[in-house]
Every structure is written in structure tokens, then in C-alpha cells.
Symmetry: D2
Subunit: 199 residues, 4 copies
């Protein structure tokens, strides 16, 4: 618990690092999520590279809203695995009970950050369970990934939405159309300003 | 516009009937939505009948929140079909543009009424476009169903969620477990009371 | 963890009872939630009684989706109170950190079950923190209610939505308008059938 | 309808400009939305300037998901004002009927883009109706703003969330903490690259 004398001060970097570390500990690599993205998007963008998929997954994982969902979901999985939740929540999560939908709710908060166009991709991949999702759903291991499997699917769906937005921007760039920024201009402005001052 | 002298008074029955009538006018039958439900649920409930599917679709369509989404979506499809929306909204809806996600948003408000367990079914069916959804997506007809195809998929997903809840209740009934009502007890109570007073 | 020999079978009654018991243990009474409902709704329905408010809160709490959110939220509060979450999730929840929004996400899954008309009431009450919400937000007690305060507000908002739907039905009944049931007819039908067979 | 010979190609700039133009036509200025943001945020950030509020509102309005909701909502308001919607949708929207919640649903899709921390601000402002929201709710004018009033409140809530994220980043910068980017790094990278090539 926070020391009463030092007011709590969030450290965003620590949250980001914990997200990466916990995904790793639970056996999920960014590359594996990127493979799901490739599966979802290659028919729309035949030239899409794994490097781009990885980059977009990393960008999704850089969002606080996403990190919050990842950490909370993994924590609940972990506690269920250790048998430390109260009954009947313990049983519902260990068994990924059909009428327990909090895992889908957390997953959806991830998809939502990149808008409604990711809803379909999320549902599709969550039903088919390709790649890493198959392993996360294998209950014979004794591991509990009730939250994580939905979360991984949601990160892949969100990265797909991000790609759709970026590809449209690229296309318009190529056509020489005037550029309508989606909130990126400001980011660049701030970083430019920082560079100017500090470096 | 409402006559200033008569205060506006919603007539729920009129809303319900308009929903049915417009679905019919736009070429969607309850049976066709029920077929999507069967497709989604038969592997979980081998004894599921078309009659049950139809009934559950009707129950979903009896919800005001669902009726609001259906009517609003069909209205926008219709106006787009007639070329009556302002630019660039007109083009975005006629072309079911990839970055336009208001159709998914309306669809989601339908799924949500039966909770998060329907998210996956919605995305899955919206991606595969089986049955009636294939026809609704055929743009060669000149008809615009940008909203309706997502809405029909959402109604099917919601009906699937409703079935999952009901089947669980039946199973517990069969096991002789004490019954935990989900808001049905009160409905029955009220109808019983009405019967007692009036009939 | 579930005994390997007995396949897991959800017991809805147990989930419902745990929800009631945990709310009680964490110091929240149905009457206190009903007071929030009264505060939100009395200006629209001057004849609204506390009894009706209590009844509608109970009906909201009878929904599985709501029970799932309540149990998950209280479990996370409890673990945070005991210092048992991993860092930095532990600090974020204990301090109800401003950029941590999973509590709002769970709360929203409750409001959503009764549709979008409850969004406004939820936000309003969550900002003003009247009645029981004030106590739940008092951090000087050492208790952690990061999730529970949002959840209680959400249950009150959902109950308000439920009242709005029911009052409209009553008004139409009084006007002698034909009744459009919102899924209640079926509930009654089923209970009637059960009664016929068993009692 | 799109000319059959020229494949439809979205022009993001046109969507962004239409959003600005329609807000202006319907009597809403960015400054008025910024005033709502100031109202919501000044107690948390006493040094917050109107300039910052305006800037954050503009950044919210630069998002495609937000533009889609704004344009769709204004279109529906406009058609209702002109009496061009079918019955009973026409009456429900003109009268901002209590059980019609599609306006809240569109508004929510705006808030969601900046995550769940904006839910509360949205509900609060939508209930109190300060500033521009009061005028948008005045039905005596003959104008219909059933969608727009919720949308304006949602943009203000989203801008407030955006400020909360940015202020945290600034605070960490001031403390000399390592910076965790939230998707901005990439934006800057791309703009830098573009600059390098073109300017």
C-alpha cells in the first residue's frame, strides 16, 4: 500500500514495462499477436509486412487503457490459477464459464480505443482461436488464461483497426491529397518542441 | 412535428409494429435471422429447434433498445439508397466505407442488451456473412444495407446470448436446483396481478 | 479448483447469493442503492416509492451480467485492500488512479444491460457521490472501494432505466393502449407453465 | 450515389472539413465546447488555459470515429427538423423521447475513443446542461438537436480525458521520469520522415 508520506504518483513507464513483462511471463510474444494481425489483414493489404504488424501491436500496447486491461486480466487469471479468488468467482474464471463475460468486457475496452471498426475482427478471431489463441485455450496445461486469450485477440483486432486508419492515410498521401491528421500532428509538435529544448 | 396542443406520448406498440414492418419491407424475415441463430448455437445445443430460435429472435425484437437501433439503421440505409444524405456521409454509407463504424456501433447496442457474451458471436457472423447476410451484402442490387446487415447479425448474436441464459436456467431446473430468476419473476408477478384484476 | 471428476456446473443461485452476501459484507445495503435511485428519479415520477426503488434494485441485481461485475469488482477491491495484487496494479487500484478506468468499464457493463438511457444517470451520480457513494469514497477508512463505488452508482443508474421502461408500460396500460411486452410475456408464460406442471 | 466508373475513394480531409462546417452551421463553435472542457477540468488543473482546451477539442474532432458520429448525428437532427424521417422515428427524435437512446450511443462512441475515464464527465455534463448545451436543449426554437447536444457533451468529455492523459505525461516529464509514449512517438516519427522527404 502507498506510503502515507509520499503522495502516490503514477509512473507511466512502470505501467508500460509491467505490461510487457507480464505478457512475456504468461507466454505471449508480440510476434505471436502480430501473426494474428497478419492473418486478419493480409487479404486487404497484400504487401503488409510482419514488421508493420509488430509495430502496430507495440503501438496498441503503448496505450494506458490497453495496459490497464492487460494487467487486470492477467492478475485475475493468475489468482484463479493459484486458487485465491473467492467462490463462486474462482470456479467461474477457472472454467471460463459461458455466462461469465467480464473477460469479453475487458477485451472490448481494448478494441474500443481504436473504434468500432475492430468489433468484427475481435469476434472472428475469438471464435476461430488461431495461432497463440489455441494454446491459450488449452486447459489441459493447468494454466488459466480466461482473460488473456480474449485480451490477446482484442490487441490483434485493435492493431488491425490501427493499420486500416494508417493505410488510408498513406493512400491519401500517395494521391497527393491534403492530409487530415487524426491527432498525430500534435504528437509530433510536442516531440519537436521537446527536441528543440532538450536535445 | 408533434402538434403543440397534444403532448407527445410514445406508443410502444407502434414502435414494435414499425420495427416488424420495416424489417419485412427491407426483405428480412424473422425466420432468416433464426437460421443464423441456429447456425451459431446448434453445436452447443443439439436439440435446439427452429421454433425456439424464432421465439428468441422475437423476444430480442421486443426490446425497445433493439427497436430503436433497427429503425434508425433502416432509416439511414433508406435515405442513402435514395441519395438524400449530405456529402460525404452519403458516399460513406452507400459504399459501406471501411472507416465508417456507426453501423457497428448501432449493432453493438443490440448485442449489449444481452450482455458481453454475445460479442464473439456477433463478430464471427459479421465476418462470415452466412445466409441472409450474404444477400444483404450484395451491392449489385442497388439496395443499401450498410446498417441492416450489421443489425441482423447483432439480433442473431443477441438471441444466441438469450438462449445461453435460458438453457442454463432449464438445466438448473432439471437438476432440481433452486431457481435464481434473472428478472423474470417480477414479469410474471405483474402479469399475474393484471390477470387477477382484469380478466 | 474444480474437482476433476465432477464436471463444472454453474449454480446460478449460488452466484446470486454470493452477490448479495458480498455487497452486505462490504457495507452496502439494497436500501442505500435504492436511495440513489430515488434521488435520480423522484423529479420525473413524484409518486415513486422507496419500495419500488428497492424492488427495481433487486431486479437489476438478479441479472447474471450484473452479478459478474459486482463479484469481480469486489474481489479486486478486497485483494487491493489486503495488498495482494502485483505492482503497479496494486498501487493503481488502492489509489483509484485517474488514468485507471477498469472500474468504470465494469460499471458500464451493468448500465448497458438496461440500455443507453442510463449513461447520463451513471455519470451524474458518479460525479456527485451522494449518500452511500460518499462513504465508499472516503479513503481515510483504510478500506478500498475503487470498484464498488462505481458499481453501486451503476446499479442505481440501471435501476433508474428499468423504472423508466416500466413507467412507460404502466402509462400505456392506463391509456388502454395495446401492450408491447418487452420480453416479459415470455417470462410469465414460462412461469405459468412451470406452475401448471409442478404446483 | 458514387459514379460506377470511378471507384469510391474516401477523402479524409473532406470528412474533417464537413465535420467542422456542419458544427458551425448548427451553431456550435469550438470555443463553446472548450468552455465545457474548462468547466470540467479547471478544478483539477488550475493553470489550464482556454487555448489548451480549444486545442484538445480540435484534436478530438480530428479523429475519424468522432467525425463519423458528429456527421451522422447532425444528419438525423436535420432530417427530423425537416420532418423527413419515417414514423415513429420522426416523433421519437423530434421529441428527444426518454426511451430513445441512439443519441447516447453515438455520443458514447466518441467518449470511448479516449477510454473509460471520460464516462463520468459525459454523464455529468449531459445532466447539468451548462453553456452551449442549454441552448441546444431549448426546444422553443423549432430546431432539433437531439443528437447534437449529446455529441457536444461527449466531445467535451473526450477532450477532458485527453487532457488528463497529456497532463500526466507532462508531470512525468517534469519529474525527469523516463517517458512512456502512448502512441505519439510513431506519429512524430512519421511526420519527421515526411518532412525529411518533402520539405
Amino acid at each position: 500500500m502507498a506510503d502515507a508520506k509520499i503522495p502516490y504518483s503514477l509512473n507511466s513507464k512502470a505501467v508500460a514495462q509491467a505490461t510487457q513483462a507480464w505478457l512475456h511471463t504468461r507466454g505471449v510474444k508480440v510476434e505471436q499477436i502480430a501473426e494474428l494481425v497478419m492473418l486478419l489483414q493480409q487479404k486487404y493489404y497484400p504487401n503488409l509486412t510482419m514488421e508493420e504488424c509488430i509495430h502496430n501491436v507495440e503501438m496498441v500496447l503503448s496505450k494506458r487503457e490497453v495496459q490497464n486491461a492487460v494487467l487486470t486480466g492477467i492478475q485475475l487469471d493468475l489468482l484463479a490459477e493459484e486458487g485465491k479468488l473467492f467462490s463462486p468467482l474462482q470456479d467461474m474464471i477457472v472454467n471460463d464459464e459461458g455466462l461469465y463475460g467480464v473477460d469479453e468486457i475487458l477485451a472490448f475496452s481494448i478494441v474500443n480505443v481504436y473504434g468500432s471498426i475492430g468489433f468484427t475482427n475481435y469476434g472472428y478471431i475469438d471464435k476461430l482461436k488461431p495461432g497463440i489463441l489455441e494454446r491459450l485455450n488449452d486447459r489441459s496445461t493447468g494454466e488459466v488464461h480466461t482473460f488473456l486469450d480474449d485480451i490477446v485477440g482484442a490487441v490483434a483486432a485493435a492493431a488491425s483497426s490501427r493499420i486500416a486508419h494508417r493505410k488510408q492515410a498513406e493512400r491519401e498521401n500517395d494521391l497527393g491529397l491534403p492530409h487530415a491528421p487524426e491527432d498525430t500532428e500534435e504528437a509530433a509538435k510536442r516531440l519537436d518542441a521537446e527536441k528543440g529544448q532538450k536535445q
